[in-house]
């Protein structure tokens, strides 16, 4: 029953969502498909519209236009209490006048589930979030992590069609947050409920999601699996928001791409003619010593500073045109032996397969 969410998981089809607050457009012609059982994260800075979209999904905010279909059924005008969507709120929103048991039993009571079955299902939900035996506790007697689990149990105990989570881990401290990320992901794998997760923490999104939709200014910039999103960002915003990036201006002419007077080796097809930016991740850069082997692009630079960080080191360098790039590598003994000194001219290498270009906005 409780463990059978996978069979009841439904896909969500969102299309043409428009939302304006007092003339200001917050969401613009937004479309998004979530597969049944998928863990999809809406990632974006504050003000990007991700929470508004979640509120529209839950039914707390009315869109100006658009369609939300859950398993083919249109729910855009359905009141929140009929939507059968579980939600975990940022501040948990547990009912302070009820104990843990009654909090989790609340959705079952609304659905007129019998007392015996309620007791059984609450017990199983408590077990699932590892809070067995805490049913009689008052909410104010729980720690932050325990409240988080109660909120989660309450959102899934009634076997909702979809589960929404609004930055549910943001109130926890770092180590607990990382622990809960793993736990949430495992729970999702076990139960297989369609989940829409909102966060502004890119690391959290990458850790947990099947796919990530990066939102910016009311639009979805890119939607992809975490690996693809990181390795092949399609816009400057995505490249800058996910992971660290340096941008190097390049130009495409006559079907090949040029960085100053050097022709770039790359494995993907060259883009349209004109100015572009090369996305350079710190760990994709490496130090090469004069000899150039294989499909590597060499970038001459001057070392600015080298910072030792224990497991790795970071090297800040300046290219000929004055642009700053960052290189990060693990402190293997062979690398450590050859660490450059500040002011030293070096050659940075980036493999042809790691060259990613985005439009220069």
């Amino acid at each position: 029953m409780l463990l059978s969410l996978a069979q009841s998981a439904l896909p969500i089809a969102i299309g043409g969502i428009e939302k304006r607050f007092g003339g200001v457009s917050v969401l613009h012609d937004l479309g998004l498909d979530v597969a049944a059982g998928e863990f999809l994260t809406l990632l974006g800075p504050s003000g990007s519209g991700k929470t508004t979209l979640l509120m529209i999904l839950a039914g707390f905010v009315r869109a100006n236009a658009g369609s939300i279909k859950v398993g083919g059924e249109e729910i855009i005008t359905m009141p929140p209490h009929r939507r059968n969507i579980g939600m975990v709120f940022q501040n948990y929103a547990l009912f302070p006048h009820m104990n843990v048991f009654h909090n989790i039993a609340f959705p079952l009571k609304q659905r007129r589930v019998s007392a015996a079955e309620t007791a059984e299902r609450v017990e199983r939900a408590l077990d699932l979030v590892q809070l067995k035996g805490l049913g009689e506790r008052r909410v104010d007697q729980l720690s932050g992590g325990q409240r988080q689990r109660v909120a989660l149990a309450r959102a899934i105990v009634f076997e909702p069609r979809i589960v929404l989570m609004d930055e549910p881990l943001s109130a926890l401290d770092k180590s607990l947050r990382e622990h809960m990320q793993i736990e949430l992901r495992n729970l999702h794998r076990r139960l297989g409920m369609t989940t829409v997760y909102v966060t502004h923490d890119q690391r959290e999104a990458i850790t947990m999601s099947d796919r990530i939709a990066v939102m910016n200014a009311g639009r979805i910039e890119q939607i992809d699996q975490p690996e693809v999103l990181y390795a092949r960002p399609q816009t400057k915003f995505v490249a800058g928001f996910i992971g660290e990036s340096s941008f190097i201006p390049v130009e495409c002419r006559n079907g090949s791409v040029w960085y100053e007077d050097r022709k770039l080796r790359m494995t993907t097809a060259p883009p349209s003619a004109g100015r572009h930016l090369m996305v350079v991740r710190p760990e994709k850069l490496r130090l090469i010593n004069g000899e150039q082997t294989g499909d590597v692009n060499a970038l001459p630079a001057i070392v600015g500073d080298v910072i030792y960080q224990g497991d790795s080191f970071v090297c800040y360098a300046t290219l000929k045109d004055g642009r700053h790039v960052t290189l990060r590598d693990y402190c293997r003994s062979d690398v450590l032996a050859k660490l450059p000194a500040p002011g030293e001219p070096i050659t940075l290498g980036i493999d042809a397969q790691d060259v990613v270009l985005v439009a220069d906005q």
Binding site: A58, R83, A93, H97, R111
Partner: protein
């Protein structure tokens, strides 16, 4: 415990006793200092609360001849008029408190749901009557409600009624006048507690399948309960000792406890009997507060089970 067997420090004293005397002296000095800071407040409390109440209690123990007796208290049980006054006082207090809840709860709810600016403006209108004298407001009600007052004149002109309604100089008048004066005392604490209710709790309620009405009943109402309880207690206790409005609006027909006290002391100059009335009112009020505390305290801090 043997000091001799314990290890000693370089000065020949047992370990664990280093600077013990100086630290104890420092603690005593700090306690004295705090007491000195507290003393103005303590003296004030003693002078304006303990002494007068003690005096009141002392006075109530003497009859008119100055003899020590329990006659002042025995009178409550012997004279029917005292019991009647007592009953009237509670009847008025209950009715007014009920009316305040009836009008105050929806008002506070509306205020709590309004946008901040609109709520601020509306709150001014709630507080505004506070700045007007109770006497003035009570006379205003008399003008509005009396036989040839505004309400009766209008209703008769409109032909709704043939005879003037008895709205003033009776129980109804007292309740209307007092409700108006007591309303802010209920609305303000209630509004404050409603403002602290997390909007997300209400959203969570609906998200979990409760209709708006069910969400109100199962979540908003119980969460507003502490504010409602404190408002009810304030209004009820204030009603018990209220004087001006019942005296003016009652037309001599509604005699409340405080009016009885005034009669006893200024009309009959019987200070012993008056003091006894005061002591009884104080005792009843404290007993009620204690009762409220136990009932509502358990209700608001414990688990609200709706099974």
């Amino acid at each position: 415990m043997s000091v001799a067997s314990a290890s000693l420090d370089h000065a020949g004293r047992p370990y664990g006793a280093i600077n013990a005397d100086a630290l104890a002296a420092d603690a005593r000095r700090e306690a004295r200092g705090l007491l000195a800071l507290l003393s103005p407040g303590l003296i004030l409390v003693f002078a304006v609360i303990v002494v007068p109440i003690g005096w009141l209690f002392w006075l109530s123990l003497f009859d008119e001849a100055g003899q020590l007796s329990a006659a002042n208290y025995a009178r409550f049980f012997e004279q029917a008029s005292y019991i009647k006054t007592f009953v009237t006082t509670f009847k008025v207090a209950f009715t007014v408190t009920g009316a305040c809840v009836l009008f105050g709860y929806p008002l506070a709810y509306m205020l709590s749901q309004l946008p901040r600016r609109a709520a601020g403006i509306c709150l001014i209108f709630v507080i505004l009557p506070f700045w007007t004298s109770v006497l003035v407001r009570t006379y205003a009600w008399l003008v509005i409600l009396q036989r040839k007052g505004l309400v009766n004149t209008w209703l008769m002109d409109l032909g709704v009624i043939g005879q003037p309604l008895p709205l003033a100089n009776n129980f109804t008048g007292v309740v209307i006048g007092m409700t108006h004066i007591m309303l802010p005392f209920l609305v303000l604490p209630l509004y404050a507690s409603m403002k602290t209710i997390d909007v997300d709790c209400l959203r969570a309620g609906m998200n979990l399948g409760a209709s708006p009405a069910a969400t109100f009943r199962q979540i908003f109402l119980p969460l507003s309960f502490p504010g409602l309880a404190s408002g009810v207690v304030i209004v009820f206790v204030l009603c018990l000792g209220f004087f001006v409005t019942p005296a003016l609006m009652g037309g001599g027909k509604v005699i409340m406890w405080a009016m009885r006290m005034e009669q006893t002391t200024s009309l009959y100059s019987n200070w012993g009997a008056g003091a006894a009335l005061g002591v009884v009112l104080l005792a009843v009020t404290l007993a009620l507060l204690g009762l409220f505390q136990r009932l509502l305290g358990a209700r608001t801090t414990g688990v609200w089970s709706s099974r």
